[in-house]
């Protein structure tokens, strides 16, 4: 059952990425995602549902500053597919609803992985998602990791 779910998810992700014409670039790379935070505690681990809630504007009570990559980023596509479980258009629709009803604020976006890593390294409380293969400085804690590939 678990293998079937992983296989289905892999098929869905690969078709999705193929439809955005990125397949040739990613076939040989690790598409797993890690969620990292600049916090002191080593005790916190998050479930997929908690990560989804966090990146969709809910507070988990840890005073995190959520940061993300822009829609054009392949890492964001991986994250949307594996963790949020929604396509980019529906995520943008959700944020449009939140913005124009004054309910929630979209997380800060930073242009690329390098700048994002630098921001999170130097900002206490910042949390974001990165490719699993990213070399992390020791003070960043991994709160969640996908295991789909």
């Amino acid at each position: 059952m678990e293998r079937m779910k992983k296989l289905t998810l892999r098929v869905v992700l690969l078709s999705y990425l193929y439809s955005t014409s990125c397949l040739s670039q990613i076939e040989n790379k690790d598409n797993n995602i890690i969620v990292v935070a600049n916090i002191d505690s080593t005790e916190i681990t998050l479930s997929r549902q908690q990560v989804k809630n966090l990146f969709m504007g809910s507070s988990l009570g840890y005073n995190f500053e959520v940061t993300t990559l822009p829609p054009s980023s392949l890492v964001r596509v991986n994250f949307n597919t594996q963790v949020i479980g929604l396509t980019e258009d529906r995520i943008q629709s959700f944020w449009a609803q939140m913005r124009f009803t004054g309910r929630k604020v979209q997380p800060k976006q930073i242009d690329n992985v390098e700048s994002l890593l630098e921001y999170v390294e130097t900002t206490p409380g910042a949390v974001t998602y990165l490719p699993a293969s990213t070399k992390l400085p020791s003070h960043l804690k991994v709160l969640y990791k996908t295991e789909h590939f």
């Binding site: 439809s19 479930s47 009570g61 943008q92 004054g102």
Partner: protein, 399 residues
């Protein structure tokens, strides 16, 4: 004078004052954002119009531009205004929202000011077409017939657990403006508008339950005049049935499922009132969509049943010609009340061709009921068979 003409200068002055105060404060920023839609539609029938659409292509009914300005006064306080410009003849361009937000904690938020009434899933952002898959949310539920804004306060609290989250929202306020009921635009004074909304999210499933009510006083001088006449001739029980003030109650439930490649949306609504001329409405829709990014196709079935409390004249026939006339008029009143019973089946396609922009096409088969208006404005009742097809295309943009 329209209430908006009164609010706008006051609101802008307050807003300008707060903004200039904030520009002197340390924590300050002003954010501009907005949304726009260009919508064209055509109805394939020359004997009626539907939502201002007739048998020639028209861009006016639903195209609009919304601008939102948000000023951050402190880390917890902000002021937001949203201005809306419509091309439609039936809608005034106006101040859509004007409120201040106090974010007490990450989970608790208060808003004060002019706010959109959050009756149903899409009620308070119905103008932001980009935010939902159809061009128009199903008319049977989202017919804009209730008081769509209020002046007051709202509070919302979110509880987030490992596997689920619950959002509770409550609001209270009043409304003094025009509403459209039974195809007519009338002045309404609604006080003690209040509601509570519970949203529960469990993985991909979202349940929303809400209950709303208000005390409405609707200006219908011909009904009030008729009631006065009935009182004068001693038929107060009949006059009392023509009361234009009373309670309006609204109940809503929806269940949505959102997976990566597909979604299901369903919503059911019940509106009831003690006011005779305010219809009792039961309506619902069921929608399913398939997503193959950047395309979404969807199909929707929707239905509304409208009824009115049955009234009948208690004047004995033959007492006097004038009384017979009054009696017939009273019975005719019930028969002539507008009934918007409508079934519809629609399919649509959405293409997210660019970030923050989408193109949509919707085809809707409207299945009205004989001898009823079914949301149509009928120009030739003899020729119209109460069925028509509506085609709409739209370009949506948020910025």
């Amino acid at each position: 004078m329209s209430i908006y003409l009164k609010i706008i200068p006051i609101g802008l002055c307050i807003f300008a004052g707060l903004i200039s105060a904030s520009l002197k404060a340390e924590t300050n920023s002003i954010d501009f954002s907005g949304f726009s839609r260009v919508v064209a539609g055509i109805l394939d029938d020359k004997n009626a119009t539907y939502k201002e659409y007739d048998d020639s292509v028209s861009f006016a009914p639903q195209s609009l531009l919304g601008i939102q300005v948000e000023g951050h006064i402190t880390a917890n306080w902000s002021v937001t205004t949203q201005l809306l410009a419509h091309t439609s003849n039936e809608k005034e361009s106006s101040l859509n929202w004007l409120y201040t937000t106090y974010q007490a904690t990450d989970a608790l938020q208060f808003k004060f000011g002019k706010l959109r009434t959050p009756f149903f899933n899409y009620s308070d952002f119905k103008d932001v077409g980009y935010a939902y898959p159809w061009i128009s949310p199903p008319q049977q539920v989202y017919n804009g017939f209730l008081f769509d804004s209020y002046e007051g306060a709202s509070a919302s609290y979110e509880l987030v657990e490992d596997n689920f989250s619950i959002n509770t929202e409550a609001y209270w306020g009043q409304f003094q403006d025009e509403i459209t009921i039974g195809g007519r635009t009338v002045a309404a004074d609604v006080n003690q508008i209040r509601g509570i909304i519970l949203s529960i999210q469990f993985d991909n499933l979202k349940l929303r339950l809400s209950s709303h009510s208000g005390n409405a006083n609707i200006e219908l001088p011909e009904i009030t005049g008729f009631a006065d006449t009935l009182n004068q001739v001693g038929y107060s029980s009949m006059a009392n049935q023509l009361e234009t003030a009373g309670a309006v109650n609204v109940y809503q439930i929806s269940l949505n499922y959102d997976a990566l490649a597909y979604f299901i949306k369903s919503e059911a609504v019940q509106i009831s009132s003690s006011i005779l001329v305010f219809p009792d409405i039961d309506s619902y829709y069921l929608s399913a969509g398939y997503v193959h990014y950047p395309f979404t196709i969807h199909a929707t079935f929707a239905s509304s049943q409208v009824s009115y409390s049955r009234t009948q004249s208690t004047i004995r026939p033959g007492l006097a010609p004038e009384l017979d006339t009054l009696s017939s008029a009273f019975d005719a009143l019930y028969d002539n009340l507008v009934r918007d019973n409508l079934d519809s089946i629609g399919i649509g396609l959405r293409w997210d061709f660019k970030s923050n922009m989408a193109l949509k096409i919707d085809l809707t088969r409207l299945l009205g009921k004989k001898n009823e208006s079914s949301f149509f404005t009928i120009s030739d009742a003899e020729a119209f068979n109460h069925k028509a097809n509506l085609v709409q295309v739209a370009w949506e943009w948020v910025f």
